[in-house]
Amino acid sequence: MTDEFDRSGILSVDEKSKDSTIVFGFWMYLMTDLVLFASLFVVFVVLRGPEYGGASIKNTFDLQYVFIETIALLVSSFTCGLALLFAREGNVRGTVSWLLATFVLGAAFVAMEVSEFSRLLAQGLAPARDGFLSGYFTLVGTHGAHVTVGLLWLLAMVVAIAGRGLSRGNMRKLALFAMFWHFLDVIWIFIFTIVYLMGVL
C-alpha cells in the first residue's frame, strides 16, 4: 500500500468541492452540538420545578443585567458578519479590525457571565446546593465555555490572517468560525428565553 510518488509540490485540485464538503461537515458538527445543548435544556427543565429548589432563586436573577449581556453577544454576531464581508472583499485591515471588535464584545459577554456566577456563589447559591442550580450552572456554563473556545479560535484567526493574509485556508476557517459564532447566538437566545425570561416572569 505504499506509494512511490513525488511528495513535493502542492496541487489544489477541485478546491471548490473541498470547500463545500468542509462546510457540510461543519454543519453536521453543529448538529451534534445542538443535540448536546438540547440534552442540557431537557435536564434543566426537568430539574426546574420548585421541588428541586428552583423557586428560591427566581428573585436573584437580574433581567436587566442579562439583557445587556444578550445585546453584547448579538452585536458581536453582527460585527462578525461585517468581518466576513470585508474578508470577501480581500480587505485584511477591515477584517482584522471587525474580528477584534467581535473579540471585545465576546470577552465582555464572558466577563459579565463570570461576574454573575461569582455573585450567585457569594450568595451561597452554588451548583452543589441543589438539582436546579446544578442544571443552571451546567447549561449556562457550557454555553460560556463554548464562547470562550470561540474567543481562542478568534485570536488564532487574527494571528493567522495578520500573518498569511486571506489565503484560501484562512477564508475557509473564517467561514466556519462565523457559523460557530452565530450558532452560539441562537443557543443563547434559547437560554435567555427558557432560563431567564421563563424563570423570572
Binding site: 502542492i10 468542509i22 461537515g25 458538527y29 451534534t32 438539582g131
Partner: protein, 659 residues
C-alpha cells in the same frame, strides 16, 4: 490539601490489585504490552510502524488498526465472560465459586462496556473505514485527519479502561452505571470514573467518525452514483452514522453530568437534594437504544453485500431495503423506554413504547425476507461469509421474536432484568452484530491484503461459535423463565439451576475454542499468503470495490469510475457497461502524527480526571489544544499525484482485470 494529593491525586500504593485473579489480570496486561514492545524493538520495526501505520491517513490502514484493537479487546471481554460463566456454574449452595462478589460485579460491568464500546464499535468503524470509500468510488474520506484522530481517541479510551486492571478497581455498577449506585456515596472508589472517562474518550472518537462518514457518503460519491445506486452497505452505514450524530451527544452529556455529580458534588442524579435518577436512565437509553441499531445496521449492510454475491443474484427488493433502513433509524429513537417499563410511567406511555417496539420488527422482517428472496433460486456458494449469514438468519430471527415478546409491557414486567433478557440481547449482538462483522472481515480481507483468509480454519471457527452460542445462551432463556435474574454471583442449590448453568459454561468454552480457531486462521492466512493470492475480484463481486487491484492502492482509484447502474462492476463484467479511463491530477493528504499526539494528551487528561490529578488535567488540556491548533493552521498538508504518471503505472497493474 497536602503535597501528595496535589501531585498524585487519589493515587497511592493501596490502589494495586487485591487478590490473585486481579493480579493475574494486571500482570497479563503488563506482560502483553511488554511482549509487543519487545517484539517490535527486536525486529526493529518502530520506524516502519510509525511511518506506515500510526501516522497513516489511509482509511484502509486505519481500518486494519481498528480491527486489531477490537480483536484484542474481544480477548479481554471474552476472558471476563469465561470468568462469569465459571462463577455461575460453580457458585451454588455451600460453594461460593472463584470470585468475590465485588470482583464479579467489576467483571460483568467491564464485560459489557468493553464488548459494546471497544469490540463492537471498533470492529464496526474498522469495516466502514476499509470499504466505504472504495464502495462509493472515492479516494478518501471527507476529513482524513479527523479519521485518524477518531481512531487514536478510540485507542486512548481502550488503553484507559485497561489501566483499571492495574491501578485501582473498575465500576461495579453494570455496563450503564445506573445511579444512585454509581454516585459517589455508593461507589466511592475511582472505578466509575474509569468507566466514565474511557467511554467519554472512546465516544468522542465515535462522534467524530459519525460526522466524517456521514459527510463522506453524502459528498464524496463518484460521478453517476445517485442515491438509488448506492450499495446497501453504504446505505446502512449512512443510517448508522445518522444515529451516531443524534445519539452520541446525549451520551457525552450524560457521562459529564454523572462525573459532575461525583466530583463537584452536584445533584443531577443523586437520591437527595433534587437529583432525579430516572432522568439518568432516560438519558442513557435515549443514547443506548439507538446505539444498538448503530451496531446492527452495518451488519445488515454486510449481509446485503454477502448474500447477493454468494447467491449469484442481485439483491431482492433494493428499494424496500433502503426504506427499511430509514424506518429503523426513525423508530430506534422512539423506543428507548422499553428498557425500563418497570419505571411505572403509566399504561398509556408503556403502551406507546410497547407498540413502537413491536413495529420495529416490521422493517427488520422486510430485510430478512429480502435476503431469503435473494437466495431463492440462486446458485448459492457456502463459503464462510455465507455460513455466518446462515447462522445469523436463524438465530437473529429467534432472538428478534424474543424481543417482540418483551415489547409487551405485561410480559416485560416478568422478564425485566432476567436472564431471558440477557439471552435476548446477546442473540442480537453476538449472532447479529458479531457474526455480521466476521462475515464482512472474511469477505473484504482479500481487498485489503491481496490474499484470502484460510477457509478451513474459518469454517471450524464458525461451527464452534454457532454451537457454542446455542449452548451458552439457550439455557439462559430457560433460566430466565424460571426466574433467574441477571448479575447473580450465587444461588441456592434447591433451585435446580446448576445443570443449565454448567451447559452455558460449556457453551462459553466452545465459543473460546471458536475464537482460538480464528487466531489459528489468522496465523495460517499470513503463513500461506503466497498460496492464497487473489486477483481484484476473488468472490465474483458486484460493487466498485472489486474493480480495483487487491490490495487496493492507497489512492483507491487511479481514474475515478463513473457509475451507470446499481451493480456497476457486475454490469461491466457482463458487458452492459464500460468504463472510460480518464487520468487526472489529484492531491492526497500527507501522513501526520498529530492525531497520536493529541490522543496521548487526551489519555493523560482522562487518567488525571480519574485520579483527580488536576495539574495533569490542565497540562494535558493545554497540550492537546496546542497540538490541534498547530495541525489546523498547517497549510502544507497535501501532496500532488500526477495523473499521467499514474496512467503509466496502471498499465502494469492490468486494470480492470477480467475474470
Amino acid at each position: 490539601m497536602n503535597w501528595q494529593t496535589l501531585i498524585f491525586g487519589n493515587l497511592s500504593w493501596s490502589v494495586l490489585p487485591e487478590n490473585a485473579i486481579a493480579w493475574f489480570g494486571a500482570l497479563t496486561v503488563i506482560a502483553g504490552v511488554l511482549a509487543v514492545v519487545g517484539v517490535v524493538t527486536y525486529l526493529g520495526r518502530w520506524q516502519w510502524l510509525w511511518d506506515e501505520w500510526f501516522t497513516s491517513l489511509d482509511p484502509k490502514k486505519i481500518g486494519v488498526m481498528y480491527i486489531v484493537v477490537a480483536l484484542v479487546m474481544l480477548v479481554r471481554g471474552g476472558s471476563d465472560a469465561l470468568l462469569m460463566r465459571a462463577q455461575q456454574a460453580t457458585s451454588v449452595g455451600d460453594s461460593y465459586g472463584i470470585l468475590t462478589s465485588t470482583h464479579f460485579q467489576e467483571i460483568f460491568s467491564a464485560h459489557g462496556s468493553i464488548m459494546i464500546f471497544f469490540l463492537a464499535m471498533g470492529f464496526m468503524f474498522g469495516l466502514i473505514n476499509l470499504i466505504v470509500p472504495l464502495q462509493i468510488g472515492s479516494r478518501d474520506v471527507a476529513f482524513p485527519f479527523l479519521n485518524s484522530l477518531s481512531f487514536w481517541l478510540f485507542f486512548a479510551g481502550a488503553a484507559l479502561i485497561n489501566c483499571s486492571l492495574i491501578f485501582g478497581d473498575f465500576s461495579t455498577a453494570g455496563w450503564l452505571a445506573y445511579p444512585p449506585l454509581s454516585e459517589l456515596r455508593y461507589s466511592p472508589t475511582s472505578g466509575v470514573d474509569y468507566w466514565i472517562w474511557s467511554l467519554q474518550i472512546g465516544g468522542l472518537g465515535s462522534l467524530l467518525s459519525g460526522v466524517n462518514f456521514f459527510a463522506t457518503i453524502v459528498k464524496m460519491r463518484t460521478k453517476g452514483m445517485n442515491w438509488m445506486r448506492l450499495p446497501m452497505f453504504s446505505w446502512t452505514v449512512l443510517g448508522s452514522m445518522t444515529l451516531v450524530i443524534f445519539a452520541f451527544p446525549i451520551l457525552t452529556v450524560t457521562l459529564a453530568l454523572l462525573y459532575l455529580d461525583r466530583t463537584a458534588g452536584m445533584h443531577f442524579f443523586t437520591a437527595e437534594l433534587g437529583g432525579n435518577m430516572m432522568m439518568y436512565v432516560n438519558l442513557i437509553w435515549a443514547w443506548g437504544h439507538p446505539e444498538v441499531y448503530i451496531l446492527i445496521l452495518p451488519a445488515f449492510g454486510v449481509f446485503s453485500e454477502v448474500v447477493p454475491v454468494f447467491s449469484g443474484k442481485k439483491l431482492a427488493g433494493y428499494t424496500s431495503m433502503v426504506f427499511s433502513v430509514w424506518a429503523i433509524v426513525v423508530l430506534s429513537f422512539i423506543v428507548w423506554l422499553h428498557h425500563f417499563f418497570t419505571m411505572g410511567a403509566g399504561a398509556d406511555v408503556n403502551a406507546f413504547f410497547g407498540i413502537m417496539t413491536a413495529v420495529i420488527a416490521v422493517p427488520t422482517g422486510v430485510k430478512i425476507f429480502n435476503w431469503l428472496f435473494t437466495m431463492y433460486r440462486g446458485r448459492i456458494r457456502f463459503e464462510s461469509p455465507m455460513l455466518w449469514f446462515m447462522g445469523f438468519v436463524v438465530l437473529f430471527t429467534l432472538g428478534g421474536v424474543a424481543g417482540v415478546v418483551m415489547a409487551e409491557p405485561p410480559a416485560d414486567y416478568q422478564l425485566h432484568n432476567s436472564l431471558f433478557l440477557v439471552a435476548h440481547f446477546h442473540t442480537m449482538i453476538v449472532s447479529g452484530v458479531l457474526f455480521g462483522y466476521f462475515a464482512g472481515l472474511t469477505f473484504w480481507f482479500p481487498k485489503i491484503f491481496g490474499f484470502k483468509m484460510n477457509e478451513k480454519w474459518g469454517i471450524r471457527a464458525f461451527w464452534f461459535w454457532l454451537i457454542g452460542f446455542i449452548l451458552a445462551f439457550g439455557p439462559l432463556y430457560l433460566l430466565g423463565f424460571e426466574g433467574a435474574t441477571r448479575r447473580l454471583d450465587h444461588y441456592s442449590s434447591s433451585l435446580g439451576w446448576q445443570p443449565l448453568f454448567i451447559v452455558a459454561g460449556i457453551g462459553a468454552i466452545s465459543i473460546a475454542i471458536g475464537f482460538s480457531c480464528q487466531v489459528a486462521q489468522l496465523v495460517a492466512t499470513f503463513r500461506d499468503y503466497k498460496r492464497n493470492r487473489v486477483g481484484n475480484d476473488p468472490w465474483d463481486g458486484r460493487t466498485l470495490e472489486w474493480s480495483v487491484a487487491s490490495p487496493a492502492p492507497s489512492y483507491n482509484f487511479a481514474a475515478l469510475p463513473i457509475v451507470h447502474s446499481r451493480d456497476e462492476f457486475w454490469e461491466e463484467k457482463h458487458g452492459a457497461s464500460t468504463q472510460e479511463q480518464k487520468f487526472e491530477d489529484f492531491s492526497m493528504p500527507k501522513n501526520t502524527g498529530a492525531a497520536v499526539i493529541v490522543s496521548s494528551f487526551v489519555f493523560l487528561l482522562g487518567f488525571g480526571a480519574v485520579w483527580h490529578i488536576w495539574w495533569l488535567v490542565i497540562a494535558a488540556l493545554l497540550g492537546a489544544t496546542i497540538a490541534v491548533l498547530v495541525h489546523v493552521f498547517n497549510e502544507d498538508s497535501e501532496y500532488a499525484v500526477s495523473g499521467a504518471q499514474l496512467a503509466h503505472r496502471e498499465a502494469g497493474l492490468q486494470y480492470p482485470t477480467s475474470l
